[in-house]
């Protein structure tokens, strides 16, 4: 009985969508506090904007179509799938009485920035996160091209973000074209874009989503090895690709990593010129270490070293253990020097103790000691 009733509702809704009829808002469950009369208000908007040829002329002479794609809206996150119900035009555009005034907007960007402020009304958490992001800082500094919500998410046709994952990096790439050009050929980018790999980082895995921080700060640099280690020290993840998870530990135990770690402990905002992961492996252009274009491929490594050590000669690059644990096969000299001391130190100290312990016993707990101080005098005089 119940089932049949829902089937009927479904049929009616589907029919209305197919016919391009605005669904009846009264069925939305009242989650929205848009107020009464909103449905008729929307219908009034659609009367003109659904399939309109009209354009809006901005102060600078630029024109934009005022057409509204209802179908795209209905399948957007603010359309039929929205758990709180459809959004009304009013929710974002505000009360916008007809006939519309030409508006005080000099450019389409000005209008977009003003309308963008409405996102915060519902998405306050994301807006809060974004408020000190690198984009918000740039905006505050007067760069009106800095990305705002709708630049990345779209407006009437907002989709669930990150589906498919490649969409994330493609979105960033619309503005960050040079970086995207590097990224798309990198080991991470090519796997994402060509193989839809679910594990490689998109832009946001390293840079964050709404709270994207400035990647040129000392803090970002000093913490970056931990960022890489987030995935590269994850055994489960790396085993899938046969990548060693020892890279972080081997980095920290070598000169560069030790120093960077010490700097971080002392002051995470300290300026540090010692190499972090991306100094050698590249930033957006990271290649697999066996890729001929890899900056860490043996033949290319010396050029990479020279970026910081300009006087380095070819032998210099093998001073770095390349994340290997010294063994009889890899870096045998280091392995055997270490082995020598593993035997030598306990050997020498053991010898010392063998000499000292009987001496101490004789001196402090020996039989002569029990018999009194005078006895001790005799011992030293014995010859």
């Amino acid at each position: 009985m119940r089932l049949r009733w829902w089937g009927l509702v479904g049929f009616v809704v589907a029919a209305m969508v197919l016919l391009g009829v605005q669904p009846i808002r009264a069925q939305d469950g009242g989650g929205d506090d848009g107020g009464e009369g909103k449905d008729s208000f929307d219908q009034r908007c659609l009367d003109c904007h659904d399939g309109s040829d009209a354009t809006l002329v901005f102060g600078n002479g630029e024109k934009r179509s005022v057409d509204f794609d209802l179908d795209a809206f209905n399948i957007s996150v603010h359309g039929s799938s929205n758990p709180s119900g459809y959004l009304s035009c009013y929710d974002c555009h505000g009360e916008h009485p007809f006939p519309h005034e030409s508006g005080p907007y000099a450019t389409p960007r000005d209008l977009r920035l003003e309308l963008n402020a409405r996102c915060e009304g519902c998405h306050s958490y994301q807006a809060e996160l974004g408020s000190d992001s690198v984009h918000a800082v740039a905006m505050a500094a007067g760069n009106t091209n800095a990305a705002v919500c709708v630049d990345c998410h779209g407006y009437h046709d907002v989709h669930k973000p990150g589906v498919p994952r490649a969409e994330i990096s493609l979105t960033c790439g619309t503005c960050h074209t040079d970086i995207f050009a590097e990224y798309k050929d990198s080991v991470h980018g090519s796997a994402l874009l060509q193989e839809s790999n679910p594990d490689v980082p998109t832009c946001i895995n390293c840079h964050g989503v709404h709270n994207i921080s400035d990647p040129t700060t000392n803090l970002f640099r000093i913490r970056s090895p931990e960022l890489c280690a987030g995935c590269h020290a994850n055994k489960e993840l790396m085993n899938k690709y046969g990548i060693s998870t020892n890279v972080f530990n081997s980095y920290v135990s070598d000169f560069h990593g030790t120093t960077v770690t010490l700097f971080e402990q002392q002051d995470p905002n300290a300026e540090v010129n010692k190499a972090v992961c991306y100094d050698c492996h590249g930033v957006h252009n990271i290649r697999a270490p066996d890729d001929p274009e890899s900056t860490v491929l043996h033949q290319n490594l010396i050029a990479t070293c020279r970026r910081c050590h300009p006087d380095a000669t070819t032998n210099f690059s093998t001073a770095w253990l390349s994340h290997y644990e010294p063994s009889p096969d890899k870096y045998p000299l280091v392995y055997y020097v270490n082995l020598f001391y593993k035997v030598f130190i306990p050997g020498i100290l053991g010898f010392f103790l063998i000499v000292i312990i009987p001496d101490a016993f004789r001196r402090f707990w020996g039989p002569s000691h029990k018999e009194g101080e005078e006895q001790e005098e005799e011992i030293v005089d014995v010859d």
Binding site: L262, N273, F316, S317, T318, I345, V355, I356, V380
Partner: protein, 279 residues
Amino acid sequence: MSTEKSTPESDRKMIFRFRWPERIEHIILLISFIGLASTGLPQKFAQNHLAESMIALLGGIETVRIIHRVFATVLMATGIYHGGSITYKLFVLGQPPYMLPRFSDFTDLIKTMAFNLGLSKKHPRMGRFNFGEKLEYWAVIWGMGVMILTGFMLWNPIATTRFLPGEAIPAAKTAHGNEALLAVLAIIIWHMYNVLVARRNLSIFSGKISREIMEEEHVLELEAIEQGETPQPPPPDIYRKRMKRFVPFAIFMTILLLAGLIWFVTFEQTAITTIPPIY
């Protein structure tokens, strides 16, 4: 000295053992050793929390590295001085090579062990420097050799890899750290036991040693002193003749070695100069 006054043996005869240059040399060695160890071991064990606080206390890793290099320079300069003073003692004053290891040192060790274990009633009769002191002296010589050689490689990695394979650098690093650990543990266990625990022998600071310690450790020298058989300095004319050769040689070697030391510490700048980060 004050400690000796507090012991019942205070009125015993004190015997002269070390002249002031030797005492100063030891103090410089002591200070630079502690300086090097306290700035070096935290670098070896950088991931240890105590090491972290130690480095923070000393003003950060860059400062720690500079302090380490300053003490290293001081110690190397002391080494140069030591070479000069040994040459003077052996070839100008004509002193016997007290520190040269002899077979008797080995038998003295066996005899000491036997005596301590109660297998023998006889304590070995030893000279100015006994086997334990010779062991320490040559350990310092060996240790300084290793530390200077590997320290040079770590200080000047780019220069080193011009003529050695790159692998020499991490090998030098592991040798430097391990040798340091050995040196510090040897000082704590062997040296501290022998000069502070077994008996309080502060003669390297005061210059004087108690007769009691002399009897136990250097009875042969004690007998020689008391019988006036200690090696005498050469007569003035021979002394002057020797000095005529020694002084130019010493000046030449000092200049040469100091130049080498300056070359050492200024050889390469990239290891310490700050190249601005790429990002």
